[in-house]
């Protein structure tokens, strides 16, 4: 198979979960609430997606359930941060305990004590363009094996961009992220909009997790998320809190995973032996390099992470 097409298609496949999650984080942070708990929400979504898809027989129901699951965890975060003015980072960390905690807890109950779900086989997310192109053509290799979720993820990028830049809701979200008090004095309901962006963020992170367990793989296991929620966070910083920027970052990470896979092929290892652990380190090292190179050029929304308190 054409290596170029393989690398590109693998890049798309592995970027998709990151894109969902990063978009969720962008919305939330643009509205002023930091969400370190994306990892926990992704984790829970990954479990819910696989478990519900398995029992319902339908990947779409699993996908939706994952979104709901992520949204519920996000609701917890929203209540803590927006209503009770909690420190965003600590609340996010709590979510990173509670999310996986519940996921594994439910897994043991629903799957007979195991921490992994049963394989989905034909209940996995379908591929809309399978067989659409001529077999083994470039487009077939590139797009034919992509699940629905990949396409949805990419389509969401311009949607989120449009919402933020061109709609009334987006204007208000961005205003709140910069200067919530100003929005408040104009009669805007700051709390309601912050609840919305946080929950939307959780839903998207849940979708991201589900993409991992029902599209990229075909089951949930405890190490399926492994840091990708945090990689999504650095994608947000890289992308300067813009959806299109985050997309580029996610593609870079997906690319580094794809390269890692190629370098792991025995045929390549014979010529170019790179230890698997070094390959596993790649996305994180690249992350750091990216963060360092974006010195001072990346400006967060001014009031992000600062709980807004009306002083009446």
């Amino acid at each position: 198979m054409d290596i170029f097409a393989f690398v590109l298609s693998t890049t798309f496949m592995y970027s998709a979960p990151l894109i969902f999650t990063a978009l969720g984080g962008v919305l939330s942070e643009k509205g002023g609430v930091v969400n370190i708990g994306l990892e926990g929400m992704m984790y829970f979504g990954a479990f819910m997606g696989a478990a519900i898809a398995y029992y319902s027989g339908n990947p779409w129901i699993g996908f939706l359930a994952a979104g709901i699951g992520g949204g519920l965890l996000a609701l917890l975060h929203a209540v803590a941060c927006v209503t009770f003015k909690a420190n965003n980072t600590i609340s996010g960390l709590a979510i990173n305990f509670i999310g996986p905690g519940f996921a594994l807890f439910l897994s043991r109950i629903m799957f007979d004590g195991a921490t992994y779900t049963l394989p989905l086989a034909d209940k996995k997310m379908g591929m809309p363009l399978k067989g659409f192109f001529m077999k083994d053509s470039f487009l077939d290799n590139l797009l034919g094996s992509q699940c629905h979720t990949t396409f949805i993820a990419f389509l969401l990028v311009p949607v989120v961009w449009f919402i933020l830049q061109k709609t009334r809701l987006g204007l208000r979200i961005r205003a709140i992220g910069e200067y919530p008090k100003a929005a408040d004095t104009l009669g805007i309901n700051v709390a309601r909009i912050q609840y919305f962006v946080v929950i939307a963020g959780g839903v998207l992170a849940g979708f991201g997790g589900a993409t991992l367990s029902i599209a990229v793989s075909s089951a949930f296991n405890p190490t399926i998320v492994t840091g990708q929620g945090f990689i999504a966070l650095s994608a947000i910083v890289f992308g300067k809190w813009k959806p299109q920027g985050a997309l580029v970052a996610c593609l870079i990470f997906g690319f580094s995973t794809a390269i890692g896979i190629v370098l792991g092929w025995s045929s390549v290892q014979a010529v170019f032996p790179v230890p698997s652990q070094i390959l596993a380190m790649l996305p994180f090292v690249i992350s750091l390099v990216i963060l360092v190179s974006f010195v001072g050029k990346s400006v967060a929304p001014s009031s992000v992470g600062i709980p807004y308190e009306k002083d009446n």
Binding site: T167, L169, L171, L186, K310, N312
Partner: protein
């Protein structure tokens, strides 16, 4: 500007507002007639803004009622106030920095199509129309962080007009304006009242009340003291009602012949992070035994100048010397050791460590030298003794000598800062906005302390946006405009008019 027999457009009856056990407003009643300019006079912290925040729906009264045009209303949030035709221009602008002028004006009241998509072009046109109608010149597509403070205020005014405000509340509107701009502002207010609108102005500036207001309600420590017809009162009478005792407006300054130069700034050029030239070939000097006051409108580089002298900004070209030692581009901890003390403009942000005790705040710049620490270990007794001396000398009032500094009032926090800086015995004391937001008692105390420094042969660089303060305290006055010193004058040989002209970039006679 007389108003005759007009109806009561705003009536606040028996308003009491408590924050916990603190009573901010105590049974205040306010009557405002249609078409009048009504001033709310009081010291900083008297409760004027709190009262108006309830009219605008940002706070709810603990008890009391509000009537608009004779009808009782329950203003639960700003939307209700806006719907009733009330608009408020806040003291600290509520503007979103990265947004454009038009976006800020329409925020919360956006024009959209059915799906919620913004119609930006229409918004810009509406802004242009309003702008023309009231003579408020703005560029709808300019970004807020790029425009001048004067234009920012016009944006804030357009915000309330856009929502059809008939009752306009202004909170300290002239704090950021030059004397000429204040004249323009008075004209704009006139236009509003001619149009049938009612204006309420919160201020502590007596001269401006006499110039623009019809009626004045005086508030002191949360209680209404009285209501006066402005045409029949004087500055002294207003001041006495505001403070509760007779007030002297100027400080005693003995004649002094200044000595050698302590601070010498020559041709200083500084660029900010966006490559904008914020200090543009600036030269000045401050000598022993004199106070040099920098007059100017906020935003002409004053804060940046202080930061540069303190070593927090990079010097592009030019030089800064302290006691003839060149400190240009040295690290800020080295510079602070060369005999500079600084009272920052933003005391919360730069002056105090909020959760530390008073004694710990008082040693902030000398914590790692004797007697406060030896071999890296803190000497608790020395720190405590130092605090006792300074608390007494600077009359710092707190619940206990070890109280956390964030429990102190603004005036007492400022005294902690001043006590600390002066006890370091600096050759040069830089005081930025030293009395901002403080009550008259604290202001008098701080002015005395500053003049005492000068009388003790120290050099003082005073930066203030209150022209009265500059004229009162300074020996020489340097007017700063667009990053340069436009002219240096002897305070005894000039007046408000001349300085005002220079502050706005004009030429003096």
């Amino acid at each position: 500007m007389k108003v005759s027999g007009a109806e009561l457009v705003v009536e606040m009856r028996g308003i009491t507002k408590k924050f916990g056990s603190f009573v901010a407003n105590d049974n205040i009643s306010l009557n405002v007639h249609k078409g009048e300019v009504h001033a709310l006079l009081g010291e900083n912290g008297a409760g004027k803004t709190t009262l108006m925040n309830q009219l605008y729906g940002l706070y709810q009264p603990t008890s009391g009622e509000i009537y608009l045009n004779g009808k009782k209303v329950n203003i639960t949030d700003p939307n209700v106030a806006i719907a009733e035709g009330i608009g408020m221009v806040h003291q600290h602008f509520m503007l979103i920095q990265p947004f454009t002028v038009a976006e800020n004006i329409i925020l919360g009241n956006e024009i959209t199509n059915k799906m919620g998509v913004l119609d930006y072009k229409k918004a810009v046109n509406q802004v242009k129309e309003l702008s023309k109608k009231y003579g408020l010149d703005v560029d709808p597509d300019a970004i807020i962080s790029d425009i001048s403070v004067g234009m920012q205020q016009r944006v804030e005014i357009l915000k309330v007009l856009y929502r059809g405000a008939e009752i306009l509340i202004f909170d300290e509107p002239t704090a950021v304006l030059t004397p000429q701009e204040i004249e323009e502002f008075i004209e704009i207010i006139k236009k509003f009242t001619q149009d049938g609108k009612t204006v309420i102005i919160i201020t502590h500036k007596l001269k401006e009340i006499l110039k623009m207001a019809d009626t004045c309600t005086i508030i002191r420590r949360g209680v209404k003291i009285g209501v006066v017809d402005v045409s029949k009162t004087t500055e002294a009478e207003l001041a006495e009602m505001m403070v509760g005792r007779s007030v002297t407006f100027s400080v005693e300054k003995e004649d002094k012949v200044p000595g050698k130069s302590v601070l010498d700034v020559k041709d200083l050029c500084v660029k900010d992070s966006r490559n904008v030239q914020i200090i543009n070939k600036l030269s000045l000097n401050v000598r022993k035994g004199e106070i040099l006051g920098i007059a100017g409108v906020d935003g002409n580089g004053q804060n940046e100048l202080v930061e540069t002298i303190l070593g927090l900004r990079k010097v592009e070209s030019g030089s800064i010397c302290i006691n003839e030692r060149n400190i240009t581009n040295k690290k800020n901890w080295e510079i602070l050791q060369s005999g500079i003390g600084s009272i920052p403009a933003d005391r919360q942000k730069h002056g105090i460590v909020p959760n530390f005790s008073i004694p710990d705040n008082l040693i902030l710049e000398r914590y790692n030298v004797g007697p406060f620490s030896r071999h890296g270990i803190l000497n608790r007794k020395a720190i405590k003794d130092n605090a006792a001396v300074l608390i007494d000398r600077f009359d710092i009032r707190a619940s206990s000598p070890e109280a956390k500094v964030n429990t102190l009032s603004g005036g007492n926090q400022q005294k902690v800062i001043i006590g600390r800086e002066i006890s370091n015995n600096p050759d040069l004391l830089i005081a930025s906005q030293p009395t901002r937001g403080l009550d008259v008692g604290a202001i008098e105390f701080i002015h005395k302390a500053i003049v005492e420094q000068r009388n003790n042969n120290k050099a003082v660089l005073l930066i203030s946006f209150e022209l009265d303060e500059i004229l009162d305290l300074s020996d020489r006055i340097a007017v700063m405009y667009e990053g340069r010193i436009v002219k240096i004058l002897n305070s005894k040989e000039t007046d408000e008019k001349e300085i005002g002209l220079l502050m706005a970039g004009g030429q003096s006679k």
